[in-house]
Point group: C2
Chain length 208, copies 2
């Protein structure tokens, strides 16, 4: 039965993937998809999909499947894709710019509103229509723009400092690409995206 509160992270991750597939299906004019078809498109098992979707209440029709536009809308509302979350990018290096320029995030309701970098040379440069600001105004600028979400792509040794300033500026959700653990207050959520472990895992499975 529907228990909309407290959806596990693995389920949310799968919702994000389903959302993309549903978007594509809708664009192609597909009206219904059943759990087996969704499995083919995502390689999430059909039973897993049904279990996940059961958290949203009864979304499917036995014998028919799930209505694409309805399901997309429902998952979208869970992921809050329609809110236009403003976010800040801290660290306008290569990875940071790649993320700023990555087109996919807007589909999920995220809107880049500020970019910070400690490098004086970069300050004032325009990326994605946003001028890079100096790190120094970070807290004030964040507060003024009501930004609560940040993506952190600074070098490891600058990460904790930048984090402290983000927190001072009212940021409560951080997507962290710096390969280090961030210390934040309890009311702040950090999602770590570490690339080296991904490589390292690949290494382990390597043979010969």
């Amino acid at each position: 039965m529907a228990n909309q509160n407290r959806i596990p992270i693995p389920t949310l991750t799968r919702f994000a993937n389903l959302y993309r597939v549903l978007q594509e299906a809708e664009a192609e004019g597909v009206e219904h998809l059943n759990s087996a078809q969704l499995e083919a498109l995502t390689s999430i098992s059909a039973s897993q999909i049904r279990k996940d979707l059961s958290m949203l209440g009864e979304m499917g029709r036995p014998g028919v499947g799930y209505k694409v536009n309805l399901l997309k809308k429902r998952i979208g509302s869970i992921l809050r894709v329609d809110r236009g979350h403003p976010y800040a990018l801290v660290g306008a290096g290569q990875l940071g710019r790649a993320i700023a320029n990555y087109p996919g995030f807007e589909d999920y309701g995220f809107k880049l509103k500020a970019i910070f970098d400690s490098d004086r040379e970069k300050v004032g440069q325009i990326v994605q229509g946003i001028p890079i600001e100096s790190n120094e105004h970070m807290p004030a600028s964040l507060l003024q723009k009501s930004i609560r979400i940040a993506v952190l792509t600074v070098p490891r040794n600058a990460a904790q400092d930048a984090t402290d300033q983000l927190v001072a500026g009212g940021v409560r959700w951080i997507l962290n690409f710096a390969p280090t653990h961030l210390k934040v207050p309890d009311n702040c959520i950090v999602r770590d995206v570490f690339l080296t472990p991904e490589f390292a895992i690949l290494g382990h499975f390597t043979e010969d």
Copy 2:
């Protein structure tokens, strides 16, 4: 007791993090670290660390802790950091270049050996000392260089094509940044690194 075969992915991820910390400790001349100290450095719980390390056989000494250089060596061999895995980058866009230029991967034994892009403009450009090759020679070039590992950073609609060519070129491990599911033969391992779900999850926790 030591069951070196079949180490769970979460454990491998933690090993990769421990490896970095051990590298730093070794560089600083630290000889021993106990599980509580490792917890402080990684925020992996001490009992979790002991459990993970117990998979490697008895690596620590009660009352003393773990010998840094020994443990680093052991984890390194699990992650096969000493093999100098040659890898290819497919897609020399911003994200691809950011990854190519990221210094951390070499520490884990990965060595960039080829770059491919379908854009004629880019072919011949040098990135990290490697000339960008045209997609067309991909399979032949991969085979010639004995490359078995690839990082895929092409747009979604080019991803499956590129994957097919990688597989034709003998690649068996793919780190996939393209936000789509790749179809590969059974003997090929794909690790997906999807950035949008990370954002999407953040969105769900957003309030207001």
